[in-house]
Amino acid sequence: MAERKTVRKWFWVWEFDKEERWLNQMALSGWALVEVGFCRYVFDACEPGAYIIRLQMSPGDENYLDFLKDTGAEYIGRVTKWIYLRRDAALGDFQLFSDNSSRLEHLGWIARMLLVIGVMNLVIGVVNSFNGTNLGAINLICATLLMYGLGRIHGKMESLEKDRELEE
């Protein structure tokens, strides 16, 4: 049986590209992602660079996974709405998005999710603060953090939009 190890690590939602880079670094150094959980990553030993790992927010459509499988991608697992995929590096470069319109659409889904959860926290936080519950502060901190994340995602979207003014 292959050697296995579990790593606990935390990434903010808006750092998904950093998370993806880290997972690919692991694959390059001979550790292929086989299982994901909340802040938990399980790796099996593999040939260094045997896989390319990608993650994305799921479009919420079950047929999508079948569609991906047809293109040679393997589904590793999901955490909430995020799906983790890998493909044999021998099949060539593996990307989920190949143009800026679809990259922007993907960032748009993430932005919407952050906005909804952020506003929910804001409302709960304000209501709880008026009720004199100390818990309100926690929701307000969460809301601030999520709004910061939303700002980061919007920053990424703006730079893509700028590219799109001149090129496809």
């Binding site: 991608a73 990307q95 319109s101 679809s102 993907h106």
Partner: protein, 107 residues
């Protein structure tokens, strides 16, 4: 039908690949082959594009054969028209470029 729209490169090649019915992976391969390996459609991009084009009525899924989970798509009349309009637009672009730049490329 709006004649002034410009299709994206992905949209153009997806429609062109669907001149004959294809499933998703077939579209990716056909596009890569047609463009001599230059245009590689990624799965997420293609999946999103297929659903927007279906909504627009440019393509439609073919009734699936039982036991096959691979959905095949084909071009509709509207899709063919969009493709022909785009071809006219591209011809105009090429013609103007050639007229103005003339022999610049020959060097």
């Amino acid at each position: 039908m709006n004649n002034d729209i410009a299709l994206t490169e992905s949209t153009y090649y997806i429609l062109l690949s669907l001149y004959e019915p294809q499933h998703g992976y077939g579209i990716m391969q056909r596009t890569e082959q047609l463009s001599g390996g230059r245009v590689k459609l990624a799965a997420g991009t293609l999946y999103g594009a297929l659903s927007s084009m279906t909504e627009r009525g440019w393509i439609r899924p073919l009734p699936g054969e039982s036991g096959s989970r691979k959905k095949e798509y084909c071009l509709t009349k509207e899709g063919l028209l969009a493709l022909k309009n785009e071809l006219d637009r591209l011809k105009e672009l090429v013609q103007n470029g050639e007229t103005i730049l003339g022999g610049e490329n020959d060097g």
